[in-house]
């Protein structure tokens, strides 16, 4: 059977949509997410000890169903659980697939390298076939099918709970989350110093957005790593990303390509990031950003 792992992250529904191309998909649901309209059959995992996440337990649940194909979202958990599945049975795992098709006994697939800046075309054979789907490779789209949900209690032992979430810490109230912010004002090497970010913070505040930074500035210690927009930082998807003094290295583009629109402020009109922008202002950000801030204040922002 074709099994898709689904958890509370809405990105799971994209994976579920993706999995349909292989045939009839059954969902293995962890948590309360509603998969109505996506699959005919869904199994909701119910287990006394699974009040919290435990990777090997989830993997065991997958394995118990003896699927031929397993699809999971390309999230921390999706990767982790399928990696466990793969390691248990000695099968390969194709991570962050963006396209796939069945070719007799094999899957022809395209997956991401370098966070998506490079693509790999590959061929997956053997059984079972394990893959995670890159977030936002496709949109989640229910097919309208009637969904039957049943409980499923996997057989688990102590060894499956060696590693589990012991507790959670909720986010501090009021922290602007980079990956959910509507507007992000990002700064790169061109900002020049830690202090140079003050003016970007002003702008972000006026727009109700969050401040981000390129990997260069987080490595230099000008911003904390939690502000990093990039392949090894946050992947943002704001309505508007304002990139100030950022040249546009590949790993940064990976982080901000989800932005709906991009405004670039840069001295160099040939900077790689300009080609990906919707708007550009060419010049010194330390003159331009304060001018924008002033203009916003003038307009009563």
């Amino acid at each position: 059977m074709i099994l898709c792992l689904v958890d509370n992250d809405p990105v799971s529904l994209e994976a579920l949509t993706f999995a349909r191309r292989f045939g009839e998909v059954e969902a293995l649901v962890f948590g309360d997410i509603d998969v109505g309209g996506y699959v005919a059959r869904a199994r909701r995992v119910v287990h006394a000890r699974l009040d919290e996440y435990a990777p090997t337990a989830w993997a065991q649940a997958v394995l118990e169903l003896e699927p031929e194909i397993v699809v999971a979202p390309g999230t921390d958990r999706g990767h982790e659980v399928l990696a466990h599945v793969a390691a248990r049975i000695g099968a390969p795992l194709a991570a962050n697939v963006i396209d796939a098709s069945v070719d007799s006994e094999a899957l022809q697939l395209t997956r991401q390298r370098w966070g998506g800046s490079l693509l790999e075309e590959a061929r997956l054979t053997g059984t079972p076939k394990l893959l995670t789907v890159a977030p936002h490779a496709i949109d989640a789209e229910p097919s309208g099918i009637t969904t039957t949900v049943e409980d499923f209690t996997p057989t688990l032992g102590d060894e499956h709970f060696r590693v589990r979430v012991m507790r959670r810490e909720e986010p501090a109230a009021g922290t602007a989350r980079l990956d959910s912010a509507r507007v992000v004002v990002g700064g790169g090497r061109g900002v020049g110093s830690k202090e140079g970010f003050a003016v970007l913070e002003e702008l972000a505040k006026l727009l109700g957005g969050a401040v981000g930074g390129s990997r260069v500035v987080t490595n230099l210690g000008w911003r904390p790593h939690s502000d990093q927009v990039g392949q090894t930082g946050a992947r943002i998807a704001p309505d508007l990303y304002i990139a100030c003094g950022v040249s546009g290295a590949i790993q940064h583009i990976v982080g901000c390509k989800g932005a709906k629109r991009i405004l670039v402020i840069n001295k160099d009109q040939n900077a790689p990031i300009v080609a990906r922008a919707d708007w550009a202002v060419i010049g010194d950000l330390h003159e331009i950003v304060p001018a924008i801030v002033a203009e916003l204040r003038k307009n009563g922002a």
Binding site: H84, A122, E169, P171, H225, T232, Q251, D278, V281
Partner: protein, 253 residues
């Protein structure tokens, strides 16, 4: 404590990737190389743990002979010893890499108390080598970690989830894959560099393995080029910028 950390040699890219003519690899002729970002933090974490709890550190890599550069860099930061699983430089699958690493770890005179990996390598992005090694060695494993504390033989690891944190606990020995942001790696000191230069690297011939996931070719995705509207030069463009904000509904009328 015996702490091991695994790193991968990856190219240091700029703003564009070019492929070799056979589309099988990146053209690295103009590029420098580095330790993959998550792993650089893993190296730093290994050093901090050994400093805090006492113990030794070892860095391992599976890669071409030139990867000794990355091992030297890790040693220059302070890692005590290094192991190179020397390949001919071609891509190795995650399964083959993990199997070779696990074998090398087993062959060490003392077992590791803690093995650190990067969450995923910047280039291949497979997200699985650490987990596979853990399984082979029969060790508990947690991934994507941004904070580690060790107390009395137990490891507490935290990772970001839903804007907050989920906290795991696992017994040592264990495998942890970390993400950049867990710390800010130190710069190598001159003394470190000189010591690293003199420290011999253990070399091992790893066994390659076939994989049922086979690369056919690499493709540079077409650039999503937008039509850029230049709003102006310098501070004079501020008005037009605010007009754009208004258009997007980001500021009131």
């Amino acid at each position: 404590m015996k702490v091991g950390v695994c790193v991968k040699r990856v190219p240091e890219t700029g703003a564009r990737i070019t492929l070799t003519s056979d589309d099988q690899a990146i053209d690295t002729s103009l590029l420098g190389f580095t330790i993959s970002p998550h792993e650089e933090c893993a190296v730093e974490e290994a050093l901090r743990i050994a400093e805090r709890h006492g113990g030794s550190t070892t860095v391992l890599t599976l890669g071409p002979a030139a990867a000794s550069e990355q091992l030297k860099n890790a040693m220059a930061m302070g890692i005590a010893s290094a192991v190179l699983l020397e390949t001919d430089g071609g891509d190795w699958s995650a399964e083959a890499t993990a199997a070779a690493l696990a074998e090398a770890m087993r062959a060490q005179p003392e077992p590791f108390d803690l093995l650190l990996f990067g969450n995923e390598a910047a280039d291949s992005g497979d997200y699985q080598v650490g987990v596979r090694v853990a399984h082979t060695l029969g060790l508990p494993c947690v991934t994507g970690i941004k904070g580690i504390e060790i107390d009395d033989g137990r490891l507490t690891a935290r990772r970001e989830a839903g804007g907050g944190w989920e906290i795991f606990e696992l017994p040592l020995p264990a495998v942890v894959t970390v993400k950049e942001g867990i710390n800010l790696p130190r710069y190598a000191s001159i003394q470190g560099r000189l010591r690293a230069k003199k420290t011999p690297i253990e070399r091992i011939q790893p066994q390659p393995r076939a994989s049922a996931l086979e690369t056919i070719r690499l493709v540079v995705p077409p650039e999503h080029e937008t039509h850029v509207e230049v709003l102006g030069a310098g501070a004079d463009a501020a008005q037009r910028v605010v007009a754009v904000f208004r258009e997007l509904g980001l500021v009131g009328l």
